[in-house]
Symmetry: C2
Subunit: 311 residues, 2 copies
Amino acid sequence: MKEKYYIGIDLGGTSIKLGIVDKNGDIVAKYEAPTPHAKYEETIELFVKMIEQTGIEKDQMLGVGIGVPGFVNIEDGSIDELVNVGWKNVHLKNDLEKKVGLPVFVDNDANLAALGEMWKGAGNGLTDLVCITIGTGVGAGVIINEKIYHGKNAMAGEVGHITINPHSEIRCNCGKNGCLETEVSATAMVNFNQRAIEGGKETLLPIEATTKDIFEAAQKGDSLAIEIIDNTANYLGLALSQIATVLAPERIVIGGGVSKAGELLLRPTMQYFKRYSTEKIAEQTEIVLAELENDAGIVGASRLVADQMAK
Amino acid sequence: MKEKYYIGIDLGGTSIKLGIVDKNGDIVAKYEAPTPHAKYEETIELFVKMIEQTGIEKDQMLGVGIGVPGFVNIEDGSIDELVNVGWKNVHLKNDLEKKVGLPVFVDNDANLAALGEMWKGAGNGLTDLVCITIGTGVGAGVIINEKIYHGKNAMAGEVGHITINPHSEIRCNCGKNGCLETEVSATAMVNFNQRAIEGGKETLLPIEATTKDIFEAAQKGDSLAIEIIDNTANYLGLALSQIATVLAPERIVIGGGVSKAGELLLRPTMQYFKRYSTEKIAEQTEIVLAELENDAGIVGASRLVADQMAK
């Protein structure tokens, strides 16, 4: 009998990643292409072409899972708007199913990253976890009983918009002040540096410093860089404590670009987490770095297919 | 065929409530007795006596559900400690099953209140909700997919210990500062009043004012009472917003003694909730008062029996 595979697709603002994933969740092959912006039909054709290029026969494919950077109508796999990709009112599931003749399942990218980490990464073997992705913004996937927990209108896990600093004057893209994203994301760190330098703060950092520059400068003892990381760790530790107090997950997994700083971010975050948590929550909640990095979306999208087809 | 019933018991710090509940979740009869403190065996005997006094025959009883004010080891129905009742290291499920010859199921009282509200109260017909109980302290039950979500070591929903005011100097019983309970509970309101009067604040309120006094004084325009309620609504609105942002429940139900203030508390809480929430969460999250009041525990304990026996 021929081996069967899942097709996992991770649609990002800059690139499309596609993986052939076997039934154990292991990636057999990976492909990547730049995202065509504001061109929906062209992107669908590109998905089809990428799937064909894998050289795997149609009868070996179980189905296609796709993670997208935004909200998905979970009931029917349609999408109202993807700002990063330039899509509006598209029926991704239906359109791609027609083109490829396979079942297609769509979900939010942060949810699928969480599912991927649960299946083959830092959450392996667990049933209840929260996976936070810290990049340009902050997203999260909540896994309960081995499944994505969506909440009403699939709004669960929008932790980037927890009001973490009610007295803040920093306005978030969402329109309100003090969102977690305005203190903890890559954007927040870069902006903190800019504001500080414009305000006359002395630092080794250039005004256009990246988060990588900031973590490097902190290791050299730069006081502004240390302050920026301390601010990030403080609000991240507070938010993780609030999340852990509500949900008591077995583990919280931290992924995304900013998490690549590793222990430099994790250590101070854990200190703040413990300060803000009751003893039991502080003791029992494991906080770890993501393991799958850029593959989490592909693996999670494949698991989505497995879960949906088992229904 | 004889009608079958659930026995729902709500063990509180001052009284034991026992209800005969039919298969539709309707209470057929209710009984109440004072809680014997620090006397575990005596309390078990009292449970047995109360069950016998109902006059319902054993073969009409499906099982016994009990809600207790503290942590329960969900796997085996044992309890490490109930401070309010004076129990330590007891095996409630086993001990009561031996005495009554019926299946017994034990859970935390806030969880069962949530389950009760879902079954027959303010959450009727919903699958995902959070029910917050605001009394001396603040507890919550998280219902996901019509079941209690326990989290690791049954610690989910301990929202009274969300660090809601990180800069607070008010110490919580749990040992850390700034817990939701130190700003939003009946205790917090009473203490706020005491501190203000000791600090020389002018008010109509006596130093030993209750929450009822505070709500009444606010209606008469007392500025301290208004300030206390505003503080409560602010931190409650912020916490509900954080919970809704993480979980996106269909509805949040507010119960417990403090919630009896009704619209006086709900209206300003909703205003703060909207201020701290993204537009979508503010629009879609219903926040309502609990409906079952003191019966929520009995009804929820009965539903627990139904759920456990359906497994």
